[in-house]
Symmetry: C2
Amino acid sequence: MSKVYNFGAGPAMLPEPVMERIRDEFLDYAGMGVSVIEISHRSKQFVAILEAAQALFRELTGLPENYRILFMHGGARMQFSALPLNLAGRSASRKALYVESGNFAGLAIKDAAPFAAVQVIASSAATNFDRIPELNPAAIDQDAAYLHITSNNTLYGTRWNSFPQTGDVPLVADMTSEILSRVIDYTQFGVVFAGLQKNLGPSGMAAVIIRDDLLGQAAPQTPPLLNYTTCAKDNSLTNTTNTFAVYAIKLVLEWQQAQGGVAALEARNAEKAGVLYRALDESGFYRGVARPQHRSQMNVTFRLPSEELEQRFVAEAEAAGLYALAGHRNVGGIRASIYNPMPRAAVEILAQFMAEFERRNG
Amino acid sequence: MSKVYNFGAGPAMLPEPVMERIRDEFLDYAGMGVSVIEISHRSKQFVAILEAAQALFRELTGLPENYRILFMHGGARMQFSALPLNLAGRSASRKALYVESGNFAGLAIKDAAPFAAVQVIASSAATNFDRIPELNPAAIDQDAAYLHITSNNTLYGTRWNSFPQTGDVPLVADMTSEILSRVIDYTQFGVVFAGLQKNLGPSGMAAVIIRDDLLGQAAPQTPPLLNYTTCAKDNSLTNTTNTFAVYAIKLVLEWQQAQGGVAALEARNAEKAGVLYRALDESGFYRGVARPQHRSQMNVTFRLPSEELEQRFVAEAEAAGLYALAGHRNVGGIRASIYNPMPRAAVEILAQFMAEFERRNG
């Protein structure tokens, strides 16, 4: 097989040195003679991996000591239920505020409904989520339990450039598709969560950051594996964790650190996204989906003049080794996901392919 | 590193050919040029893996068509919450019956309490769970939503040899530590679940079998990723599944099939357990924990004359390449977990080590 560049939105490509290391030590972890996936989650070797992952995460994010780092089962979607179960009780009326900026924000709203009095205070549904909606500060009811946003919208390729001031209402962000891709002041947030399968590791698990003072308020009917307080108390080992995923996160975080940390990755990500957005802006053939002021640096979305051309684009790209460029099944079009591990060279090859495809079909 | 035999209770050893195959194709799945953990859970390649795993599971278990096979996040512990959320509503009084036969049965009881009117109808707590408790058939209230048992008790090394007749009350079994290790008539059960990390694959996920007529009865406050009906409707792809685990299950099931299926594995497991139980029975030094009539074929538990000797046993065994023989932190003692992949040769080496240790210390 010749070189393939994987633009899939997630489960996404992981850094090549990480993948090679997993392969190389797969049958024998640290000279134990057994695989890392065959050791107890309570063994000293595995607990060392877990704690190293947490320490690296704290270092890379600059997270203050009053925040906990949890690894929880089920990806970001499980957090759509866990969040209201854990936090809605902060408000006497169980009011929880949401901003609807795309598909996953919509699912978060739907999943929260059984557990909270959900109020959608802003939405960009009317413009097919081509932007981050305007948020009227007066709409942030100070009696609400929290305000939930999706910091980067994978399907539509939009992101929040800066985050709303919410006063005493904890701001909660689903950062699944951009965690650790740009420098962020996490003290703006009460809770941040991210499914691993884009910038952090394999699928099936979420990293959750929570400010200490938000613990201890879960509804009595919160399953223990969805309870932030239980998970924090047990250091993410309430039950057998996904040991493979935790091991992989640690390696991904070590790689991020070796790349120069989040600031260095952010600079590289801006360059990579810039290559593709310039290609869109200079073309009369391709049309960017996201409003320029809300463009994601992680997911670059665009349309071609017809769906037929889009299908041909995806097929020819795949034949050229540019894999998984089809947009999400709900929205169609083209999406290039260019998370931290995507090399700049791959983005330039894609831009070149786009120019050639336009020449032949424009 | 010389050869190591891993007697860990879980995450446990997986079959060597499976581990080698994962390593060999880790960077390039099926000639795609990318890893199986880097492809979309909705790609045709991954869906083929998922469906092959389900088909193999059905074939190996002889499961009738009116049962669904689900793969759900979080391991068996998540099912301790999911089960009452999904099924307690079958009973007007939300009554759910439990048999307390060990540590995990106890956790299942505790986790169900917020969602069901839990009634423990038998317990072997009084004898430190050295047996499966006697179950009075009259205690099986026909108005109950279900009866939950733990078919094999990992910590204590006991198992149900045959299963109770429950009339119209669906029998539910946590089979985490013995799934696919012996031939079972699954039509006795309404629901069976098993964390993967003992006989099926890596940790972080559960396989769930459910009879069709038990779907559609979840409480409105059931998180979608804990909802059997949602999971069945979406064929276990409600959200991004743990793709690595599903891929690994498929390989483990292929290996089981190549071994001759469950009947062949059961015969081998009985021989392996027989080697160790004979060693216990012929010794005045070692003392088996489980009553002979309820001995597990998967977890062989025993004590030495003192805790000091037990610690020495574990340390010397490890030095001899016999890894992870310490009993569970809650109960101490020695535990040899000998799931399907454990070769008979390893069990014989352990029996030999036991004899030599007794000679030196007895």
